[in-house]
């Protein structure tokens, strides 16, 4: 009887130890929560830039160039790769325009995630997935091999096909998730003799996409449609409805700005990717 009372008393009386423990818990729990839940959730998802383009256009080489300052030898990619890059000295992120030069946050804003995707026809779903579920996506660099884009070339057709698909996905994207998305068509391999200048790359891609668009509209339906399970058939016409020729400027209607600029990752005179850096820095 006595013992029970004693126990009860000991348990309920305000004891210094209990008090200390309670205070300690009260103070530490928020700290723990912060440490394990808040911090690990990756508060700072870096802004990301997506690299896409047909196989062999130099995506992985560009990625290593952006990361290290010099390019590494590369082969065909099979898996996507994300790499943390920071802007080179002398360039500033677009959002830092009004900051003081000495502001330490400048450094933090210089970092971004560059995502490489395989360009092989069977592995493009990686790229598509990144566009449809974007995570802080700031821009898309579509790399093309300017040396293979001469008219009538098979590579031009394949490139235009891929670009058409990507732009169509962007056009049909969920506007709430992704408000505006700039696309840079980076004409790589300008160091080669056969490379087309950027303006010509632009016009030949536009002409070829016009053809893709026409033949897609005339082509057969996909299996599955009209066979019971009907998809929500959105409009598959890229660009302005009823327009005769496709122009990249038509994409601005959908908040997709398309720019074309040339450069080269490899080459005797070293890499010239300043324009691309500038484009990236303006988007961050």
């Amino acid at each position: 009887m006595v013992t029970i009372q004693d126990l009860a008393q000991a348990a309920l009386n305000p004891s210094p130890v209990g008090l200390a423990l309670a205070v300690l818990f009260a103070l530490l729990i928020p700290l723990f929560l912060h440490r394990f839940i808040f911090q690990s959730s990756g508060l700072t998802t870096l802004p990301s830039v997506l690299l896409i383009g047909p196989s062999g256009s130099g995506k992985t080489a560009l990625l290593t160039l952006f990361e290290r300052g010099n390019h590494a030898p590369t082969h065909t990619s099979q898996t996507p790769l994300a790499v943390e890059c920071s802007l080179p000295v002398g360039t500033r992120a677009g959002s830092d325009k009004y900051r003081s030069v000495n502001d330490p946050t400048n450094q933090a804003h210089k970092k971004f995630l560059l995502m490489d995707t395989p360009g092989h026809g069977k592995l493009r779903h990686h790229a598509i997935k990144n566009i449809t579920n974007p995570q802080n996506l700031k821009g898309i660099i579509f790399l093309v091999d300017a040396a293979t884009l001469s008219a009538g070339d098979d590579a031009l057709r394949q490139t235009a096909d891929y670009l058409h698909d990507v732009l169509l996905i962007l056009q049909k994207r969920n506007v709430k998730v992704l408000k505006e998305l700039p696309v840079l068509i980076a004409a790589n391999k300008m160091d080669l003799f056969t490379a087309l200048p950027a303006a010509l790359v632009r016009s030949s891609l536009e002409a070829e996409i016009t053809k893709v668009r026409d033949s897609r509209s005339k082509g057969l339906l996909d299996s599955g449609i009209g066979m019971g399970d009907v998809d929500d058939e959105k409009d598959d016409w890229l660009g302005e409805m009823g327009s005769k020729e496709f122009k990249f400027s038509q994409m601005e209607e959908f908040d997709v700005s398309v720019e074309v600029s040339g450069g080269n990752v490899l080459g005797g005179g070293g890499a010239s990717v300043d324009k691309w850096w500038k484009w990236v820095s303006e988007r961050l």
Binding site: H75, L113, H120, K218
Partner: protein, 664 residues
């Protein structure tokens, strides 16, 4: 010799490479495309976490043979390239060893996210492995099993003639040679026995002096040894000659002597100096001088990690320990799996993880579920061969992978199979028929091609619907206002031409509304199909047709007599596209059909696409799609889904995968 050795990631970045001869990067690119992405030659590859290069089928690409192995969890590929003419038996071993060493050294760096930079100074390790394996490789090739070292030496003497500059180790070598001529048999015996037990011990040249009785040493080796002792103190030239010979013989120990070698040239007693100066004693000297010291030396061998002087020894040691630990780990894992307590505990943990997720999948976990998946695919009319391959691919992909939180093994397999199926069905390049036709019939002014009609021919076994699908394609082309010529090359079965004539009559009727133009070209029965086709194409060129559609006779794919005429046909008609019609109803035979037709057109020509007909009759069981693509890697161009001219569809991969995985 090897041409090149590369370590690259699946993301395409080359981490480390060493090339002895320039190799076009397209060689390795085609390995990646064919083996890893399109999985053309993987059928023989073993399933498991730790695949040795020996189990992977070598890949051959113009004159080069590639040996490769992968590390899945790190996404690494190790490739050795050499000329196909050579038979390098040790390449497998090299690739495996390099893999083990590289993972051990740089595994941590490779796991870092968001970077491609791996700081690796791998050249020395690689050179060490190369030399060791080359040596053992030659040793095992020896024709004189009782005196392998001598033979080896003779070989090296031969090789070393064209070896570049002698290293500055001449003095040391020479000193050794003079020492070896001393009649101290005890020492020599000890040295040579030590050498036998460990072939990397740099005492090879001693063995030339102490030739085992009865051993048939090659004359060259003997001569080299004699020359070495005779001109021991002559000028620089003989020095270098000896050094070359010796360097060849004891290629491996080269670097170890760097520090001593220079000192040795001045006097006779410098051995002690160099030893004192370095603060340590090199093996070479000790092994020659006293047995007692040698024993000590062996004990402290591993611990000697100098600042560069003894790199090679360090490397040897490090490499050996890495390889040994990898081996023992393997044995351990084999051994632990048999413990009773351990296994029951892990079984409970496994059950728990089955539900919660976060389980690392092993072959045992997967086996049952994979069997279920295989049966499911077989029920969907996928040929057994294709189903097995798909399951193997998924298994290979999943072993060693961690399941996500609250993800069951089944769900994981389901999603992996979905990815695998879409990968196999997705074409490598776009299949826009209309644009291809446009490119041919109206070539751009810049490309120097002349306008010509686009030729499509259709092949297949009897009764799969060749003529019907041809008419469907024709209708589709007519809708797009092309001028089409249909050619009846079935000159064999009675009624075939008339059947096509009926189709053409109907299509003409429709075309007048749609705006295209269609004609039939026929030469009756009994003519040679290839000639008819050739004439038709010439006729079409003259008459300015856009597209030529050639219907061929149905033939049994396992009848060599009928199939052989296809080669001539392909040569004469020069079709831009050869399409094979396969019916969705066919089961296991689809693989053989596709394969035989794919090879029937001779080398350099294969099928360009499949048309899978009668898809509306099979419901969910569209496995034929997968079987045919599996067999040939040729994409499916169209699927036939009904009786009408308009019932032709492009293949939607999503739709097909959904049908294949739906359970009923």
């Amino acid at each position: 010799m090897l041409d090149t050795f590369e370590i690259l990631t699946t993301t395409g970045v080359v981490l480390w490479s060493k090339s002895y001869a320039p190799v076009n990067p397209s060689v390795i690119n085609s390995l990646i495309n064919d083996v890893f992405i399109e999985e053309r030659t993987l059928s023989g590859a073993g399933v498991g976490e730790d695949i040795s290069a020996a189990n992977n089928p070598p890949y051959k690409h113009d004159q080069h043979t590639l040996k490769w192995t992968t590390v899945k969890e790190l996404g690494l590929i190790f490739v050795a390239v050499y000329r196909s003419l050579l038979h390098l038996s040790w390449v497998d071993k090299l690739v495996d060893n390099i893999k083990t060493i590289f993972i051990d050294l740089y595994g941590d760096q490779l796991k870092k996210p968001h970077t491609t930079i791996v700081e690796c100074h791998f050249d020395e390790y690689f050179d060490q492995q190369m030399q060791q394996l080359e040596k053992t490789g030659l040793g095992t090739d020896s024709r004189f099993p009782d005196s392998p070292f001598q033979h080896q030496e003779s070989r090296f003497v031969g090789i070393s003639r064209d070896e570049p500059p002698p290293l500055p180790e001449l003095g040391g070598k020479q000193e050794n040679n003079t020492l070896s001529n001393d009649p101290t048999a005890n020492e020599l015996n000890r040295a040579s026995s030590a050498d036998n037990s460990r072939p990397t011990t740099p005492a090879g040249h001693l063995l030339t002096a102490k030739r085992p009785p009865g051993g048939k040493g090659s004359r060259r080796a003997r001569k080299a040894a004699n020359a070495a002792s005779a001109h021991a103190s002559s000028g620089e030239e003989s020095h270098s000659k000896i050094a070359r010979a010796n360097k060849g013989a004891t290629q491996k120990k080269g670097r170890k002597w760097d520090a001593d070698g220079l000192a040795d040239e001045d006097s006779d007693t410098q051995l002690d100096y160099s030893a004192a100066a370095n603060g340590t004693t090199s093996d070479q000297e000790t092994s020659e001088r006293t047995g007692a010291v040698e024993v000590v030396d062996q004990a402290t061998w591993g611990s000697k990690t100098g600042k560069g002087q003894f790199i090679l020894k360090d490397l040897d040691d490090q490499v050996n320990s890495i390889l040994a630990s990898a081996d023992s780990k393997k044995e351990d894992s084999a051994a632990t799996s048999t413990g009773i307590v351990g296994s029951s505990l892990s079984a409970i943990g496994g059950l728990f993880r089955n539900v919660v997720g976060g389980k690392i999948l092993t072959k045992e976990d997967l086996d049952k579920a994979m069997k279920g998946m295989e049966d499911h695919l077989l029920r969907k009319n996928v040929a057994r061969e294709a189903a097995v391959r798909l399951c193997e691919g998924v298994e290979r992909e999943l072993i060693g992978v961690k399941t996500g939180s609250f993800e069951s093994v089944q769900a994981k397999i389901q999603s992996a199979m979905e990815a695998s199926l879409s990968k196999i069905l997705t074409p490598t390049s776009s299949l826009d028929l209309l644009r291809e036709i446009d490119a041919v019939i109206s070539p751009s002014a810049l490309s120097l091609q002349k306008k010509r009609p686009y030729v499509i021919s259709i092949v297949g076994v009897n009764g799969v619907g060749k003529s019907t699908n041809l008419s469907k394609i024709c209708f589709f082309l007519l809708q797009n206002k092309y001028k089409v010529l249909i050619v009846a090359c079935d000159t064999f079965r009675s009624g075939a031409v008339e059947q096509l004539a009926v189709h053409v009559r109907n299509l003409k009727e429709l075309a007048s509304r749609e705006g295209g133009e269609v004609e039939l070209y026929q030469k009756g029965y009994g003519k040679d199909a290839a000639n008819v086709a050739k004439d038709a194409v010439t006729f079409a060129t003259q008459e300015d047709y856009d597209v030529v559609l050639i219907d061929t006779a149905g033939r049994r794919h396992n009848d060599q007599r009928l199939m052989s005429s296809l080669e001539k046909f392909a040569k004469f008609a020069q079709p831009d596209k050869i399409l094979m019609v396969g019916e969705a109803l066919v089961g296991t035979d689809s693989v053989a059909q596709a394969r035989n037709f794919n090879t029937a057109f001779g080398s350099g020509r294969s099928l360009d696409g499949f048309i899978i007909s009668k898809c509306d009759t099979v419901g969910d069981m569209v496995g034929t799609l997968v079987s045919m693509v599996h067999a040939t890697n040729v994409p499916v161009l169209f699927v036939g889904v009904g009786q009408h001219y308009s019932d032709l569809r492009n293949l939607s991969v999503k739709w097909a995968v959904q049908k294949l995985l739906s359970s009923n």
